[in-house]
Symmetry: C2
Amino acid sequence: MEDAAGEPGRCAAVLPAGGCGERLGSSTPKQFCTVLGRPLISHTLEAFERASWIKDIIVVVALESLDLMKAIIHKYGHKRVTLVKGGETRHRSILNGLKVFSENRSDGTANEKPEVVIIHDAVRPFVDEEFLLQVAISAKQHGAAGAIRPLVSTVIASSSDGFLDYSLERAKHRASEMPQAFQYDVIYRSYLQCTDYDLDFGTECLHLALQYSNVKAKLLEGPPDLWKVTYKRDLYAAESVIKESISQQLCIITNVNKDAIEVGFLLHESLKLHFKVKAVSSSMCKTIHHLQNIFHGQCCNFICINVKDSDFEETQNLVDLLQTTNAGISYPLVILSVHSTSEDYSSGINKLIGIRKLAKEAYKSNILVYGLLINIDQDKVQLQQAVCEGTAIITALIKDRNPALVGQIMVA
Amino acid sequence: MEDAAGEPGRCAAVLPAGGCGERLGSSTPKQFCTVLGRPLISHTLEAFERASWIKDIIVVVALESLDLMKAIIHKYGHKRVTLVKGGETRHRSILNGLKVFSENRSDGTANEKPEVVIIHDAVRPFVDEEFLLQVAISAKQHGAAGAIRPLVSTVIASSSDGFLDYSLERAKHRASEMPQAFQYDVIYRSYLQCTDYDLDFGTECLHLALQYSNVKAKLLEGPPDLWKVTYKRDLYAAESVIKESISQQLCIITNVNKDAIEVGFLLHESLKLHFKVKAVSSSMCKTIHHLQNIFHGQCCNFICINVKDSDFEETQNLVDLLQTTNAGISYPLVILSVHSTSEDYSSGINKLIGIRKLAKEAYKSNILVYGLLINIDQDKVQLQQAVCEGTAIITALIKDRNPALVGQIMVA
Ligand SMILES: [Mg+2]
Ligand SMILES: [Mg+2]
């Protein structure tokens, strides 16, 4: 990630997360709203943890959210995080975050002062490591740097009686977004010099660096994913974006049994039109080590092709294995337990009714198990049709990740 | 809607829909992207049709989209729409739209000139009638009016070498959104007077009215729903918003059979915690007239409680009736075919396997039929538990409206 030409030096991040989410029309501050069952801020923290060169992550939260935040850090195993109590405004919260590198705590300890500090909103979970690095390197070089985006709407000024005063030329202006990054000394000095009015009514760190340290920030056009989760519709969008991103890869686990191989092969051919697919024989899938090699342990979706007479043994094995890795902590995992049958559907279903109990247990570990029955006692055309329908069902269940349907047995 | 104190006079609307959707990262212009299976622009047109006082709706589309737009108008039965060929820029397209009221067509006809014209984007489907009326009345009074929203991000200006020049005070500026409305003579005159530079590079109608007719627009703070579908995530959000809005109301159709009444009653009690529920006896539900009385024909969700021995007769009746009303044209309808069983699940399912065929047929009319089996041969506690699970399954299926799962039989 870091090369000689552009190293950011020692880096830290400050995430103000003390807002009260008024615009969302909800009493939960938006950084604590859950997206796919996990608080938004935990998704954002994950993005920062992926960047191992960011040594310290300072999360600034309102006093009343301190316990909740501690619980989130504990539950999702977040590392390198220091919690700091928020101030009454955004700027005061950021200042509190910056202070941990310059002032000793009551126990005499302090966080090691970084060369560059990245400031980011807890409610912008989709920032990627590459852009963080770009902003950090640019800040090291120029003193300050910040993400910008084209304006979606024209910006206007109104007169005090509510009429149009003037409109700005859209092409000459940009929306200032996050992340922003600063040489630590530049931004800390700016905060120490600024007025109470700035601290109470200002919002823009770039402005403070310009006004109090005479540092003009380098502006970097960021990707559209940097948008700020502000309204309820943004939570919907965030959930869809995450679902989409964890629904790209699929692991098919097949047994060497002839029936399993045939259905597995047909499904594989059909599913690879919708997913990046890896096929693994079930014998290769007995240890955590093997499982973690599949897509570097990042795979959230599994198809278990079960042997006709073994009921859902393969599925049970996979659930057991995934439970020991704790993989469901970050995202809900999906397992499709696929069963071929040569009998009529109902007796196939009768044999599998026990999958409901298995699914209930698995769900406690955030593993979503669904059943899928495919009748292989059909002619080639009918079988291909069933595989097509099965693929549509599998795709739908993976993309939706609906907990209410776990343990249900679908028929293709 | 119109009262003496504030009547908008004769009203028309112009919807520029000639954009090419570059920002979406898709080759389909965003106004033609489907949301719940229907092109976005059709959702927007529906919002304007609800306002019966808007007499003419002018849709301006690029030449290459003309046939597609005609097909959309035909398929969804849009009324009061006149199609006009777009210009090379947004302003030129709007001007083409305005001309239909002042210039005769080649066949000598023209649309009747309105007093007030509303200009709105095809990609803002969630505008409501009340706000349209407010903007129109305000335009009649002041010459021009437009929707504004608070800025989500700080707006900055950059120097030519990509550094921060200055940032605007966020509180003093607003985002200019749509709809906007104008006295027809004001906006048409402004367009006729403005320069080619304006027509080629400008975007803001309020600005033209100010510059060329000296009319200062009244600015009206609009609801957050006015946002412009710009990025792929906005399509996700739009779909979620629509799904949410059509998943509020639920009609339960029950038979007088004792078992059906009991399950129906328990489900009703449980479902009314999640939906606005109306219960109807199946005998009341034999004609289109009765069905249209339920929630004024706006109900998209039905629970059919079937009698034990009749298989899915009630469900079939409802499907037949809904098909004759063409109700699935606008939005996918959901029918949950609920069956109580006293046997083991598998033979219950066996009896119902024919529901798959029914569901396939119904889906051709955009009616999504799912089965739900509830075992009523259990003790009170178990039955209540099954009803709880059934409610969760019903809620999930209604909120997701997933076509891939039609004809599946869920077990509670
Ligand atoms: Mg700032
Ligand atoms: Mg305009």
